[in-house]
């Protein structure tokens, strides 16, 4: 990473750290949602941007993380977020490992349809096993029963919501930073380069001795764990988990994050997830036809900005740099 990029990252982290102080509870809550979704986008993009596999079933991992938290709270009486993270990561990893065996043997539309179909199976199970999952009523995950840092921080009392949002924001921010750093390391590791090689030219990668399925499966696993973690962090914020989190539009939203920000660069899906969250919230507040608004944005994006927001900004920056260099010479 160049010094300039490192300085930019440090600046962004400082600005993010100041959000609860400057912007108040509601904006902090919105950004917390954005950061949890950004973790899901990071995981998703390991598959799409770096391995060349479009998943339409990532709601399965988001939902598995969220439902694990709710089930642990309801049936095991767990309140520690650290234990939820442990349980949720294990269950998401187990699911990804299993689904990965089926899915990674296929690519393109076949992979997309398989992931979609398997996530819909989970959605149906969440509906049908209502005596466990609560069916359409879902399962509540009240923040007042949550503890952070091994019980050091809890949220009793009437005015606890604002305090919860502040503490929870910082908790999510730290995890977001860790996940981002980890993913950056992964995509720049020999493993990450191998995934990109498979994306660019599967045949040639095979003739370097790379076992394609094994690498795709590992990418699927890591991707599922990241998205599962996002589901774990999302549910205390939402307070409730219903089968909707497993439904295909949720997977569509994750795809939208990547397209909006740009999936051929590292920061794109992160920016896409945060912006999408604001877009959705404000579009819902402004018009009952919010889905049309989002649809139009998607069409405009695909037609005029196929590289997404970050990708287009990078291209413009490169063009400006080239122009300046030409003028200078």
């Amino acid at each position: 990473m160049s010094r300039r990029a490192a300085a930019l990252v440090a600046g962004v982290v400082i600005v993010l750290a100041l959000v609860p102080v400057v912007l108040g509870t509601y904006q902090t809550q919105l950004l917390t949602y954005g950061l949890t979704l950004a973790i899901a986008a990071l995981g998703f993009n390991l598959l799409l941007g770096y391995t060349g596999l479009l998943s339409f079933g990532h709601s399965a991992f988001l939902g598995t993380g969220a439902y694990t938290v709710a089930l642990m709270m309801r049936y095991l009486g767990v309140s520690s977020l650290e234990l939820f993270i442990l349980g949720g990561v294990v269950s998401s990893a187990a699911l990804a490992a299993l689904l990965g065996v089926v899915c990674v043997r296929h690519t393109r539309i076949f992979f997309a349809i398989l992931t979609l179909a398997l996530s819909q199976v989970l959605w149906t199970l969440a509906y049908k096993f209502f005596w466990i999952t609560g069916g359409t009523d879902g399962l509540r995950v009240p923040f007042s029963q949550l503890t952070l840092l091994g019980g050091l921080i809890n949220f009793p009392g009437a005015d606890a919501f604002a305090r919860f949002i502040t503490y929870y924001y910082y908790y999510v921010l730290v995890l977001f930073c860790v996940c981002t750093a980890l993913m950056w390391l992964i995509v720049n590791s020999p493993f990450g380069k191998t995934l990109q090689a498979i994306r660019d030219n599967e045949t040639r990668a095979r003739f370097l001795g790379v076992r394609i399925w094994r690498y795709r499966w590992l990418a699927f696993l890591v991707s599922g764990i990241f998205t599962g973690l996002a589901g774990i962090l999302w549910v205390p914020l939402n307070g409730l988990v219903t089968p909707d989190v497993l439904y295909w539009p949720q997977s569509g939203k994750i795809v939208f994050f990547a397209v909006l920000g740009g999936f051929r660069n590292f920061a794109g899906p992160i920016v896409g997830a945060v912006i999408f969250n604001y877009l959705e919230v404000y579009a819902v507040a402004v018009t009952q036809y919010w889905q049309i608004t989002l649809g139009v944005i998607l069409i405009v994006l695909v037609t005029f900005l196929p590289a997404g927001i970050v990708g287009t900004a990078e291209r413009l920056r490169a063009r400006l740099k080239k122009k300046r260099a030409e003028q200078f010479s």
């Binding site: 390391l185 040639r204 003739f207 370097l208 590992l218």
Partner: protein, 249 residues
């Protein structure tokens, strides 16, 4: 001493006998050219040896080891590498990454997930040295897709060479480039491959290139071997002249 041997190797596509009972031997250290008209079976033979295709019958040996049913990565471990007729690169990766990836694969380091690729000084140094040998030292930071065709051909060979195989198959390394680039590519490839002590089998159509660079020439026609010998002998062979060059000696 023979490095690779095939016995009665056959591959038919319906009525077409692409490879029809070929007994092929490659000796250690030689620079061998495999020539023939289009459809003679050259690429199919290489595809069979490299596990891109499975033979209908026959056997393939590396030394004494039967690799007829071995997988691609088993054959790579046995020392066989190849390049492709159409340039086959990782287009969105840098030139350096293309070669480094090959070295990571050879060293069994591609599973390293929590280490930066560029921080592996030994791999980076080897990749840069190799690129310099192939005349691509100044292009290491460029994306593979941004290279000129001749450079792409060289990088294609460099990626296969970086596996440090015992036996390297190069499928038309000079196709689609200018006459000037052809000589430059073959000078570089021949010098690097011979310098590295690697046995090479080159599929080539340009007979000037074949006669200039090869130690031995094998001519294929309709799935069988028509002639096999040193360049001078092949040049005088009347069958070769008739079927391959369309002239009489």
């Amino acid at each position: 001493m023979s490095l690779l041997r095939t016995e009665n190797l056959k591959k038919h596509f319906g009525e077409t006998r692409a490879v029809d009972g070929v007994d092929f031997t490659v000796n250690e250290g030689e620079f061998l050219s495999l020539v023939g008209t289009n459809g003679a079976g050259k690429t199919t033979l290489v595809n069979l040896i490299s596990a891109f295709l499975s033979p209908d019958s026959g056997r393939i040996f590396v030394g004494d080891r039967d690799i007829t049913h071995a997988s691609v990565d088993e054959r790579i471990r046995a020392g066989i590498a190849r390049s492709f007729q159409l340039v086959n690169l990782f287009d969105d990766l840098s030139v350096l990454d293309n070669v480094a990836l090959s070295i990571f694969a050879r060293e069994g380091k591609t599973k390293r997930i929590f280490a930066l690729a560029e921080r592996d000084a030994a791999v980076t140094r080897e990749a840069l040295d190799l690129l310099a040998e192939f005349g691509l030292g100044g292009k290491s930071g460029a994306r593979a897709r941004d290279l000129a065709q001749g450079e792409r051909k060289l990088l294609d060979v460099a990626v296969a060479y970086a596996l440090r195989p015992k036996l390297l198959f190069l499928d038309e390394p000079t196709s689609g480039v200018s006459t000037r680039d052809k000589a430059q590519i073959m000078d570089t490839v021949s010098s690097v491959v011979r310098g590295g002590g690697i046995t090479a089998v080159v599929i080539e159509h340009d007979m000037d290139v074949v006669f200039k660079y090869s130690d031995r020439v094998v001519v294929m026609h309709e799935g069988r071997f028509l002639a096999d010998g040193p360049p001078d002998e092949i040049r005088r062979n009347s069958d070769v002249a008739k079927y391959l060059l369309g002239t009489d000696v």
